[in-house]
Amino acid sequence: MRPSREALYQEHGGMQLFWFQGDRLEYRARAGEDGYLWDVQGYYGGDINKFWFKSEGEGAFGEAIEQAEIQALYSRAIAPFFDLQAGVRQDLTGPKRTHAVIGVQGLMPYMFEIDAAAFLSGKGDLTARIEAEYDQRLSQRLILQPRAEVNLSAQEIPELDIGSGIDNIELGLRLRYEIVPEFAPYVGIEQEWKLGGSRDFARLAGEDPSVTNYVIGVRFWF
């Protein structure tokens, strides 16, 4: 009787799930060399406690990967719509830094999905990233998604070409079609500006601090 009792309890509310989402997997057409970007995340766990992982990166075709990172986080539900997340981030390009991460991810009033995190690198550099997305259904399958991302830095990090203050801002608009909710190709446009010190670093390197990307990609989950 005891095993069936334990099984019953576990079955009714103790479910553990694996979820993987490719939020953005896209080809980016722009002035100069076209590029690519990935932004994936997933978790394993129950309603309250989860192991959460995230990875994003981008680059231009024919060149080395410009930026890539992976995060491994413990995620805990702290409110009906919010998880607190803490763990580590490993940069896979450049100086390959390791960061401590603390952040929140969830759903804001008015249905804005938000992911905000602060990063403290092994070198003592403090940076932060805030991402927000909103899904506007145009029909049951066609969805327009405005997206904003801001990267911040508490100090200048010359070896990464990052100035202090607002490092960069990205504003995007993606139109996706959910063939099924799990699989939705999209087209979109994204504008990126480097600001302040980061803009100066870009100019010094001969790069345009303002880039417009025309994107085509796919969003999926399973």
Binding site: M1, L8, H12, M15, P109, S139, Q140
Partner: protein, 611 residues
């Protein structure tokens, strides 16, 4: 064309397959030998075969079910979906033998039957479950009559076809006069595995809905109302967690394209025994042009009440009498509450003549009343008698969101949200309103500010229809209530949830978190239980082992029920005499809500001196 297997006249009892089960000398059908094959094995039959007699065998096996161009794995009992009708007689003895031919554990719960708790069929609460290849015998002396049903209580097998009807004929004369009867067993079929459904519900809010608000919808919502729903991070279309087209809605195992016909002769009193055996779907049931007289609810006779449409929650049953006087064909239309689909059958006096089915009506929407911000009494149609309980009224005008006394909110013709001032930043989750027994955490996304008793409410979407609808306050038991004691004590239980995370619980605690800490009752206590729904969904709450009396203002004629719908953002109250000792399951009968944790054990003490 498929004809019903259950067109029996009252005076011509069919013993049918019952003989088979006892007679080992006869060649055994495939389902009785376990040769149904594995997934993708033998085709599952439809319709309802009748079993009766002192020994009844049920064989649970895998099979393949098909309807309307879709097919998939099913769990069939005795080779059919639904499984057989178990027809018994009050006062008689029967042994129900359950044979598990699956390669996983199984069980059968006898929904609504009074029996010793160890035979109630809930693995982990009343018994350890039935192992693959094993048999479990249930010896019963029947001490009730009426329409009931049975289903698996293991995993999510109920979604896969493991259910069937029970009829117990009364020992004496039946107070309900009828010439013919038909079972109307409502359910769903989907080729999608229930575990896949559960995961999608968990990771993707609103996954199954194709009726969400969008920039191109024609819902009667103002921009301000849309912003308000967005601000609350909730959806006014969150009515059915799973719906068509994922589900094909069935009557007696027949999808709309199967063209189920149920015969009648003009002038007959036809008793329809309506059973909602679905996993997740509330149905609006009507026969356009044919009034229904409700005579029984959850197996208990009630004073006849005439309606044109009724909403039946998951696990409820209603017996109704219809009297088609002329020859013809009537649609038996069971529309899902969210109006995404319809179960269909034809009641016809001429074989082959199909009824014309009504079109699906516009989908309804939730309103502020469904969020517990109602201030008015949903008297509904018919009986205006209020419930016996007092409900403290809040001063809504002072709160700045007074609602007109007139028509209730929701429904396409009566959205009263616009009349309310929603700009005040109303707190949707004021946890200070909760009693200390509720554990506040991420699993609670809403607290009803002013939960009203809505037993006078006919169900979402039926408040504005231009004909008579049923509500709980219209149900009066035929017999006088034998339990005249006032409650010894009262308890309040909150139905809690988080739509976004798909967490469901009682008092903020999932069953997995409660474990061995049941709700305890003494022997033969008289308890008043108030259920407060702090969610936006209607929950059909089912107590195993005992009937309760719904506190609906009908004095000594309060109806006895085994399942009560607690409307969104509102309360419902029942009185129960805890005279059935043992451990009993108590849960939301929406299968995936139960599976997410909206379940508890009710433990009734044995009488002193009992062994």
């Amino acid at each position: 064309m498929t004809k019903s297997n259950l067109s029996l006249s009252r005076r011509r009892m069919i013993t049918s397959l019952a003989a088979l089960s006892g007679a080992a000398a006869l060649p055994m059908p495939a389902w009785a030998t376990g040769n149904m094959g594995r997934h993708g094995g033998a085709a599952v039959g439809k319709g309802i075969h009748e079993l009766s007699g002192p020994k009844i065998d049920l064989h649970i096996a895998d099979g393949r079910f098909a309807t309307g161009g879709r097919s998939g794995h099913a769990i069939a009992v005795n080779g059919t979906v639904p499984g057989p009708l178990i027809r018994l007689k009050e006062g008689e003895d029967v042994t129900l033998s359950v044979h598990n031919m699956l390669d996983v554990d199984s069980s059968v719960h006898w929904h609504g039957l009074l029996l010793p708790f160890q035979f109630d069929g809930v693995p982990g609460i009343s018994f350890p479950g039935i192992k693959p290849g094993a048999r479990f015998d249930v010896p019963l002396r029947l001490r009730q009559s009426g329409t009931y049903w049975w289903h698996s209580h293991s995993g999510l097998q109920e979604q896969m076809g493991h259910y069937g009807p029970i009829i117990i004929d009364p020992a004496g004369p039946d107070p309900v006069a009828y010439d013919r009867e038909h079972i109307i067993l409502l359910s769903e079929f989907t080729p999608m595995h229930p575990h896949a459904i559960m995961k999608k519900l968990k990771v993707s809010e609103g996954y199954f809905s194709r009726q969400k608000t969008s920039a191109s919808d024609d819902y009667p919502l103002s921009a301000e109302q849309r912003r308000m729903w967005g601000r609350m991070r909730m959806m006014p279309t969150d009515i059915a967690d799973v719906s068509a087209p994922t589900y094909t809605y069935l009557i007696n195992g027949h999808g709309p394209e199967d063209g189920l016909e149920l015969p009648y002769r003009p002038g007959e009193r036809v008793r329809l025994r309506i059973i909602n055996g679905s996993a997740m779907t509330f149905f609006n049931v009507r026969l356009p042009g044919l009034p229904m007289t409700v005579v029984q609810a959850d197996g208990q006779n009630v004073q006849p009440v005439a309606v044109d449409e009724l909403q039946i929650g998951v696990a409820e049953t209603y017996d109704v009498i219809v009297t088609p006087n002329a020859a013809g064909a009537f649609a038996i239309a069971a529309e899902s509450m969210d109006r995404s689909g319809m179960a269909q059958a034809t009641l016809t006096s001429q074989p082959g003549r199909k009824a014309t089915f009504p079109a699906l009506r516009d989908p309804p929407l939730l309103s502020m009343v469904d969020m517990g911000h109602g201030g008015m009494d949903h008297g509904g149609s018919g009986d205006k008698a209020g419930p016996a309980m007092d409900h403290s009224q809040m001063d809504h005008a002072a709160m700045g969101h007074a609602m007109p006394e007139a028509s209730p909110a929701s429904g396409h013709d009566g959205h009263d949200m616009g009349a309310m001032d929603m700009s005040g930043g109303m707190n949707m989750r004021d946890t200070s309103l909760l009693p200390a027994s509720v554990k506040v955490g991420p699993g609670i996304d809403m607290v009803s500010m002013n939960p009203q008793d809505r037993t006078g409410y006919p169900g979402l979407g039926l408040e504005g229809v231009p004909h008579r609808t049923l509500n709980y306050r219209m149900l009066k038991s035929l017999a006088m209530d034998h339990h005249k004691r006032a409650p010894d004590r009262e308890m309040e239980l909150h139905l809690t949830g988080n739509m976004e995370r798909y967490m469901w619980s009682f008092d903020g605690k999932k069953f997995s978190a409660v474990g061995d800490d049941p709700i305890r009752f003494g022997h033969d206590e008289r308890v008043r239980v108030k259920l407060v729904n702090d969610t936006m969904m209607a929950h059909p709450i089912h107590l195993h082992g005992m009937f309760f009396e719904l506190v609906n203002g009908q004095g000594h004629h309060q109806p006895r029920k085994h399942t009560v719908i607690v409307q969104p953002g509102s309360s419902a109250t029942f009185d129960v005499t805890t005279d059935e000792p043992g451990d009993w399951a108590f849960h939301c009968h929406l299968l995936y809500h139960m599976h997410a944790g909206m379940m508890q054990t009710v433990s009734v003490a044995f009488p002193e001196g009992a062994a």
